[in-house]
Subunit: 323 residues, 2 copies
């Protein structure tokens, strides 16, 4: 079987690729485990191929129909669609967000439909589909009311994936990711970038700016658990999902103050002293519109797991990235 990862050069794409190569198999369209013969990583920048002969790196624009149709041929039985323009960037450049987050997602679904063999499609969505007046704990049946263009585009792509699945064009599943923390690497243009930066930079001996108040509550998931959930979400049978292909993944509900307290336990007071609070209303407006927690009982009933606590999330980051 061939597996495609869009956004394959990104941090989640690269971690997922490594995990799939180690695992070696995935469910095929008939549900049986099959060897991964080829893993295609497509991105606008060049992905790492890990020196593994199963990896094929494609550098290109996923809004190009010719490229997308060439990537999703009869052999492509599983697609992980991770490519996205992040929240802050989609807010600043509306047209770019529409092109990547909406048009490319639709093109991908149309290419799968044209291939005709009902590929499995795992699509990542976000806390940003929620907004407005929210209950303390968002339920599966809480209405989407995105307050950012990124959230609106993700919500639209969710609807498309659900309808393409209902019509039998794809076997799709949407995994709504909590904010991922601690991301390795550099800050990005996501409004939530600080949620990794205030942990990652101090542990590297660097200063970090926190643009939101310590009381702000976030819904977080570690990279390790996110990768495990992407694979477990792929392996679910479509029948288990009923009339909705969308799953709110488990997370941790923590305040920024809780995160700082956990950092102190791992990195000491000198790490905490690296954080400077400097409110940024544009960031705070977006992040505050997201839920601080959602009911994840459906995900847990489907076997998807979250993290134990935020201190263990930081310790996992140290193990995976700093050793």
């Amino acid at each position: 079987m061939n597996v495609l990862i869009t956004g394959g050069a990104g941090f989640l794409g690269q971690k997922l690729a490594r995990a799939l190569l180690a695992r070696g198999t995935l469910s095929g369209v008939d549900g049986s485990q099959q060897a991964i013969d080829q893993l295609v990583l497509v991105d606008v920048v060049q992905a790492n191929d890990f020196g593994d002969p199963r990896v094929r790196v494609v550098t290109g624009d996923i809004t190009d129909p010719a490229l997308m149709h060439s990537l999703i041929d009869a052999g492509a039985t599983s697609v992980f669609h991770l490519a996205a323009v992040v929240s802050g960037q989609a807010e600043a450049d509306f047209d770019l967000g529409m092109r990547i987050n909406l048009d490319a997602s639709r093109l991908l679904l149309e290419a799968c439909r044209a291939a005709g063999h009902k590929p499995r499609v795992v699509f990542t969505s976000s806390v940003a589909v929620y907004g407005g007046k929210l209950p303390d704990v968002v339920r599966d049946d809480t209405a989407l009311n995105p307050q950012s263009s990124y959230g609106a585009q993700k919500a639209i792509a969710e609807l498309l994936l659900n309808d393409f699945s209902r019509k039998g064009f794809v076997d799709g599943r949407v995994l709504r990711l909590p904010t991922i923390s601690v991301r390795p690497g550099k800050p990005n243009k996501a409004a939530s970038s600080f949620a990794s930066g205030i942990i990652r930079e101090p542990l590297n001996g660097e200063d970090a700016v926190c643009p939101v108040s310590p009381a702000l509550r976030l819904w977080l998931l570690s990279p390790r658990r996110a990768i495990a959930a992407l694979i477990a979400g792929h392996e679910l049978s479509g029948d288990a999902l009923g009339t909705s292909r969308t799953i709110n993944l488990p997370g941790l509900s923590v305040s920024v103050a809780d995160m700082v307290a956990a950092l102190e336990k791992v990195g000491g007071p000198e790490a905490v002293a690296r954080i400077r609070f400097a409110p940024d209303p544009a960031v705070e407006r977006i992040v505050q519109s997201w839920p601080g927690a959602w009911d994840d009982s459906r995900a847990r009933a489907l076997g998807l797991e979250g993290d134990a606590d935020f201190e263990s999330v930081i310790r996992a980051h140290v193990e995976d990235e700093l050793s």
Copy 2:
């Protein structure tokens, strides 16, 4: 001011046009009442111009960017976007539904954005955006889970209109219409077509087939109240709408059996004898997925009104269409 109605040859478009011509004014972009200088009715078939010099009839395809941009110029300050491929047809012809219900809606919003003066856009949506496991009474914060392509396309267009409004590109409002009954004219390809047919045909001395069970509960609004709501929805100030531009219009929650009982009061047992029940699983599957009632307190607080009871709806139909 110039007003544009898409779907201007349709039954709602024609009734709305007549009501606007009689009224003569609408709120302009600054909120003040302004005379309607020109009323443009665009549709794929030729609209009636009522012999009124203010009416301009345009016959064309609203998925054509050149046409859409020519219709929405600096003078077009209000747009009623009613054009749609109905539920049964969008289910049978997926690509046509996507083209009209999604692509044309987006094109219209982009044309408004390009015009630059933040036109008021009134967009009609539907009960069909809901589905799956629903509470007896759907609330404003109940999640959308469309179980038809029509419903998915309407839900996507709602999200676009909300985000274009939030960004300040348009001053939009989405009015979710209950099923409209009693529609005049011929049956159409909407899955809900029977909800008018089982009243309209017997009152015309014709036979009607009901494809759903008498126990099925529908959420209904009369054409008179629908037209009044379209105009009242246009006149609302954008500030009154808060973080969501979407309003569930008031309706009547009635079973098919209730509808038949009301028909008997108006048309006698001979009218009821014209109805034959012949279940159609495809129609029942779609219609059953729609809510039988929703909480309309927000709409009522905004001054939008529903019907008193279904008997008065039938009597209004007789007055408006059969006399």
